[in-house]
Symmetry: none
Subunit: 141 residues, 4 copies
């Protein structure tokens, strides 16, 4: 019996780099965002709330990151996934704690492993997605 499994998880340095890159990208826009990065276990690792970002964005950003890391899938894809499956469409966003089913949460995938997630909230979800992806680009270098 194998007693342990090895799980790669985003480092604090990488999480912080993602948050900073997201904030930098946002500074060129008129919107203020909250940005959260969680590790492979869904636990908060780095976070920033820009001046003027809505108070409600604090929790939503974290929940988007959690949802993205939890299922290894962008939160933007949830709608496509559930829209023609009536029980899920009605039941999943409402019934699953912390599940966010619109864009702004993106999994952090490195070497084929889901090692965490980034969540952004502040603008329309389509803008949130762009800021999240700008944050993730910090790990391409």
């Amino acid at each position: 019996m194998q007693h342990t499994i090895q799980r790669p998880s985003v480092s604090h340095a990488a999480a912080q780099a993602v948050v900073e890159a997201a904030v930098r990208a946002a500074q060129g826009t008129p919107v203020a965002y909250a940005v959260a990065v969680v590790d492979a276990g869904g636990h908060l690792t780095a976070f920033a709330r820009m001046d003027g970002a809505p108070v409600m964005a604090i929790q939503v950003a974290q929940d988007k990151a959690y949802t993205a890391a939890g299922f290894g899938m962008s939160t933007e894809r949830w709608h496509e996934f559930i829209k023609d499956d009536a029980p899920l469409a009605l039941g999943a966003p409402a019934g699953v704690e912390r599940l966010v089913a619109f864009g702004g949460g993106v999994p952090i995938i490195l070497d084929g492993h889901v090692v965490g997630g980034v969540g952004v909230c502040g603008g329309h979800w389509s803008d949130d997605v762009k800021i999240a992806e700008a944050g993730l680009a910090a790990l391409d270098r």
Copy 2:
């Protein structure tokens, strides 16, 4: 580096005036309401529950005020905002904690700043809106 930002927030006196004006307006109707005012940070500042108002209205009134202050937008506008944006329609009311997507929460906007929110619950949401607006009129003088 700028160490602080200045945020105007509704005073207790103004919050109390809004609650009192809302209750006065409600006294001419057959319905009993709960009325809540939160400050710019979403925190409860003044509250009244009229005799006979439903117990569940206590939390809903607070959540409406919180939603209105949180996004600086009347909760009545959420339906228009999300009804043709399928991911938000399915995901936002269900997935965002304390978000109320029907009428009765109105932001308190003074000199162009969102300084708080008022939330009313007890009747149909279209009645709740009228009571909230009657409350806000106390600040017009």
Copy 3:
């Protein structure tokens, strides 16, 4: 910048073996227990509630496992740790969510790493500790 860290975590097979060994040990006693194993991130990995175990034991067993994994220390040691540190004695069990400061939670340590925790609840905490340790013995082989 190092993008990821590697974290060993208890496998499901090992977690299940711990639960089964704990239940087997308990079957020789008059008490019915709940037994929980969490992974390195504090998330539930295997669980059993014996017939007749108290409903409240379900959460306490999980909280003990979570506390043990969270700090890498047996929950039995918390009392020794805090009893002469008055601020912690007053503040820690009360103020830290899910912290259990009496026996029954034991960290799972393999090759020097905290890879999870086991928590047991049902009897007096001194009995709970024995069942937890009987469970952990399954990993000695």
Copy 4:
């Protein structure tokens, strides 16, 4: 009637500077910490969890920051404040949600105003205090 009050609150730039200075101070020690900064309203503004910090430290750091901002008093002072007041000693840490009554949360006070709080968790609370103060020193320059 004065409709609004002006409340200074820690900026995101200052909050981030506090977190970074705390992490830098911690890197010279053997302990890994979680560090949180909240604004004047108690809302999370910046956060970092160092690699290896306990999962349970994530919430405790935030609760310490919240407690410090909430009462404008270091969490370290709570024990002195309640220890000879039996009802508070028994009742406050246990009965007040998110109240942490041991060291590691320090208010951020600028020009005589409580503009936020920093919370640190990971080591003994006496170490947590030092890291929090090292973080705050970033605002002295």
